[in-house]
């Protein structure tokens, strides 16, 4: 029985790392599995689905880490592989869910996460600049960019000055 248990655990954990190439298939499968019909006119669809959102989020995080105005606030997070992945995945889920995609955000609320962080308006604006730079790098059209920023803008009150 112990052998069986060990074998099960072994099989389970070999599935941890997947190649990027399988992501496209994964997204379609997830949409089926989650029984969530994505509106083809939703921002999620217009942005190109989860794979495109993940690419923009990766670039956004890289921009933030290279941005000397605010990277000190993220250094501890991205110094750790597990926390980097969790942070990236939470951002992907948040944008995916907020734009009408088949995802659910599992992280803390913005208000809860930023208590005691003393984030200033200048910090927030620098972060938005880094996001806009990432969107521009992927040639996201102005309408989609503005729609996404409009979804994220209300979060400012939960992040700044807490």
């Amino acid at each position: 029985m112990l052998v069986l248990l060990t074998l099960c655990l072994g099989i389970a954990f070999t599935g941890c790392s997947k190649e990027t190439e399988t992501v496209t298939e994964t997204v379609t499968q997830v949409e089926k599995v989650n029984q969530y019909t994505v509106d083809p006119n939703s921002l999620y669809s217009r942005l190109g689905g989860s794979e495109s959102i993940a690419a923009v989020v990766d670039q956004f995080i890289a921009n933030v880490v290279a941005d000397n105005r605010i990277n000190g606030d993220f250094a501890a997070t991205v110094s750790n592989e597990y926390r980097t992945k969790a942070f990236r995945n939470n951002l992907v889920d948040q944008v995916c869910a907020g734009s009408g995609g088949p995802c659910y955000y599992k992280g803390k609320s913005m208000a809860e996460a930023h208590v005691g962080q003393n984030v200033t308006e200048a910090d927030f604006n620098a972060l938005v600049e880094d996001l806009v730079a990432a969107l521009d790098q992927f040639n996201v059209p102005a309408k989609e960019k503005n729609d996404l920023l409009a979804i994220l803008a209300p979060m400012k009150n939960d992040i700044v000055g807490k």
Binding site: S17, D58, K106
Partner: protein, 136 residues
Amino acid sequence: MKVLKLSVLILLLAFLGLMIYANVRPYNPSEKLPAVSMSQFTLTPITDTVQFDRVTKSIDKLSGVNAVSLKMGSNTAAVMYCPDKTSPNEVMKLLSDDGRIKVSENDLLQCGKRGCPVMGPMARIDDMIASLNFRK
């Protein structure tokens, strides 16, 4: 011996239950994204456009690099990469442009103590369940 058998049986049943749950619950596409690491570098600011293009393109082409942030005139660069496929040393080699640029990797822990704390309290458990999800 009976207690041991019973304990193993309970553990096995709990594991099987968790595995079934992991494979029937709705899940996020991000669960299937590969693990990533970040590295930050301090470098001699690049002011030459040709050199900037050459360095950016060479890093972009490197297998396993998800994102590069390198700006003209900036002394800081950041790279997100898949640790299974490449390493900070390989990125640093390309950033140095055959020794023309002085580059050093920063210790991120020394750069700041604060961290964006969005991870929920169930993050580790969610991750364990996600690792049992065999659906593509």
